[in-house]
């Protein structure tokens, strides 16, 4: 027990300790190495055990994620849905979540997922602004930088069937279709394909200037909005610039006042017929509208634009009566009931928003395309009238007809009208999309500056819809794979709950008593527990 002895002891203990530490460190290194190794794509195997293969991404998805070059951000927006869809909404979001996790794994760091906490008002407001969202709807926002697309929970990700809530003929609500994978892949394709997307505004024939931010009649503010959405805005004049460039994603024709050269008209028609995208807004002045090619252009695609403009009486806000002599208000306030069910307006309808359309012609569907859909987008209020040309802005029963609701804008969506090469697999399917607006004024700086008009959301929505491409994604249809206890037999749930809550613990209790009985039989002292306590007390 001398000093040297204790020193040796201390040293040998240190030696053993160091040895243990070194072996532990080596084992840790080996462990990390093995883990790294087995996570390599070649060595890693995943076996999907679910019967609906809900954890297996389709080959098309994997191929897309594999060649993903930009970072995709997915924001999940979810609040509990109202009854009777609460449980189903949850189910859809849980599944979408799983799907996103799988995609995240497959994307190798290119896909980031964020759940937006909409309950945190402040953070939600900030995120809402970042995502340039307005209002709220459950769904996903898929963004690639400033280019983003919204996928609604109900409609894009899944289709619900509300069922029949009447007790006698009750049919439970159900998920008709779960299509999240297809929708997400489509959205990713949308936001990634082609680094930049270009919109060409025709110019030089009386059209409003797309780059003018100063004048009230300029479109500069709209262009800024579109640039904010990741689009590039150009002016295009056939005479100066030649045919439309290949990268053209859409053509906008805003209020030409004179006719185009024939080549230019032919170029635009040819472009649209082959699956192009077109936005047309009619010139305000009837004579000029008549001179321009807009009526012909629209007629070519089955739409009609009137020379006359829609007016409606100006009502006093307090009394609800027509302000004396004012039958000719030209600012149309479009509320939810005047909007059609169209993707352009769905977000706005969802939040009960409204906007104003100033000085509009009537745009109506003339001929329904045989293989597509032409539909009215907006309507004026039911008490409006059509001021026949020349627009004297004075109601004349003889000329101007009856009071009713008039269409202010229309859309066309149809397959290409000429034969084009159809892509296979993940490619884009060419499709004709047209938005025809009766009013050029709603696009101007003046309108966008006016806080009461609030037309920018609609315009952005219109351009987004126009530029949204239909993708051919070959994918098995999503199997809802719903497993519910039969609702028509509530006693089945009661049985399950009884088993879980009473029978199973009771059975365990009985087994424990049996074991206790068996164990204590043949022993003089019965209590096993007592002896244990005595043991530990010793």
């Amino acid at each position: 027990m001398s000093g040297s002895h204790s020193n040796v002891g201390w040293l040998s203990r240190m030696g053993i300790g160091a040895q243990v530490l070194v072996t532990a460190a080596l084992a840790l290194v080996a462990l990390l190495l093995v883990n790294w190794l087995v996570a390599r794509p070649g060595l890693r195997h995943r076996f999907d055990l679910t019967s609906a293969s809900s954890n297996t991404l389709s080959t098309a998805t994997l191929a897309l994620l594999d060649r993903l070059e930009s970072d995709i951000q997915v924001d999940i927006l979810y609040r509990d849905m109202n009854a009777p869809l609460t449980a189903l909404g949850q189910e859809v979001i849980v599944r979408t979540d799983k799907l996103l996790v799988l995609m995240e794994e497959a994307a190798g760091g290119r896909l980031a997922i964020q759940v937006v906490d909409t309950a945190d008002q402040e953070a939600w407001t900030i995120r809402q602004q970042e995502l340039r969202l307005r209002g709220y709807e459950n769904g996903l926002v898929i963004s690639n930088g400033e280019r983003r697309e919204f996928l609604a929970l109900s409609g894009d990700l899944a289709v619900f069937d509300i069922g029949n809530p009447v007790p006698e003929t009750f049919i439970p609500p159900r998920i008709q279709q779960f299509d999240a994978e297809r929708a997400i892949v489509g959205a990713i394709l949308d936001v990634t394909e082609g680094a930049e997307r270009h919109v060409y505004f025709t110019y030089g024939f009386g059209e409003l200037d797309a780059l003018d931010v100063v004048e009230n009649s300029g479109l500069g503010m709209l262009s800024d909005e579109l640039e904010g959405d990741g689009l590039r805005v150009h002016r295009w004049n056939f005479l100066e610039d030649g045919p439309l460039p290949d990268d053209c994603a859409a053509v906008a024709v805003v209020g030409p006042q004179v006719g185009w050269p024939e080549d230019m008209y032919a170029e635009v028609v040819e472009y649209v017929e082959a699956g192009g995208r077109l936005l047309v807004a009619a010139e305000t002045v009837p004579e000029m509208l008549r001179k321009s090619d807009v009526p012909d252009l629209l007629a070519h695609f089955g739409l009609e634009v009137s020379e006359g403009r829609i007016m409606h009486p100006l009502l006093d806000r307090r009394t609800g009566l027509v302000v004396q002599g004012q039958q000719e208000c030209e600012v149309h306030v479009v509320t939810g009931d005047l909007m059609s069910r169209h993707p352009i307006l769905s977000a706005l309808r969802g939040v009960g928003g409204s906007f104003s359309v100033p000085i509009a012609h009537r745009v109506q569907v003339g001929v329904q395309p045989p293989d597509g859909v032409a539909q009215v987008l907006l309507r004026s209020s039911p008490d409006s009238w059509l001021d026949a040309p020349p627009c004297d802005r004075r109601y004349d029963a003889q000329l101007d007809g009856t009071f009713k609701s008039f269409p202010l804008a229309a859309t066309v969506q149809r397959p290409p009208m000429v034969d084009v090469e159809a892509p296979t697999g993940l490619g884009t399917v060419p499709e004709v999309r047209i938005v025809a607006l009766g009013s050029e004024s709603m696009l101007t700086n003046a309108a966008l500056q006016n806080p009461t008009f609030r037309s920018s959301d609609v315009l952005r929505g219109a351009f987004n819809w126009l530029l949204d491409r239909e993708h051919r994604i070959i994918m098995e249809p999503g199997d809802p794979d719903l497993r519910f206890l039969p609702r028509e037999r509530p006693e089945s749930a009661v049985f399950v709950i009884r088993v879980a809550q009473y029978y199973l613990p009771l059975a365990a209790l009985l087994v424990s008593l049996l074991v206790w009985l068996l164990r204590t039989r043949g022993s003089r002292r019965v209590a096993l527990k007592t002896s244990r306590i005595e043991e530990s007390a010793g």
Binding site: R46, L49, A493, A508, S512, R519
Partner: protein
Amino acid sequence: MIGTFVVARRELSGLFMAPFTWIVLLVVLFINGLLFSSFLYQTQGNVTATLSESMTGPSFWLWMIFLPALLSMRLVAEESRSGTLEYLLTAPVSDAAVVLGKFLAATGFLALLWSSSLIYAVTLDYAGGPPDWPAVIGTWFGTILVSGLFVSIGMLASTSTSTPLLAAFLSMVSCLMWIAIPFLAANIMAYLVPLLTSTAAEQAVLAERMGSVVASMDALRHFSRSFQMGVLDTAEIVFFLTWISFFLFLTARSIEARRWRG
């Protein structure tokens, strides 16, 4: 190898002969039954969601903090105090066999406990809501692996003391730490990253690197990305098995160190 099974068999039968184990079993079954019923009610009879929530929900992770600690306290610390560990460690079986045997017994007990979920599933099947059996079994297998991981952590913590209560407490804290790694690491990183780097770009890179290291140890994440979804992933299975072996190895070393410490 034979020694391992001899020890495991005795430990497992020893567990079921003690009233302590039955009390734990009853409490867990009772609470899990209540939770299961409430999930079934909340999800309006959604079989998949209810089973998933009761097998892998927060309650499962809460049990993972307490149960392995109690089991390893019984299997290691109490035996160390009563002297039966001396008996085992002088019996003709290796330390590794003793450690492995005890580990298998505790994990086996938890596996049995979690198979109560399979009974729920059978009941649901009988009542007309057939569960997705392969996925349910895959998830059950995953819960066993998670149990194994936490038992091995608990055993390592338990070998450091022969005071049962202290051992249980240490095990509990260790298991909690293991679950809380991502949260702790996030907090620590928030302090550390600005200290180590100067520019925002470097910070982002460092934070991402550290984040990936932390994520690679996050048992919750590993579990939720494979077994919980009904996927068998070789990499995740290896993750759990290697960490279990690592902790068991350390446990065996720790027991060996007793021979030196006395």
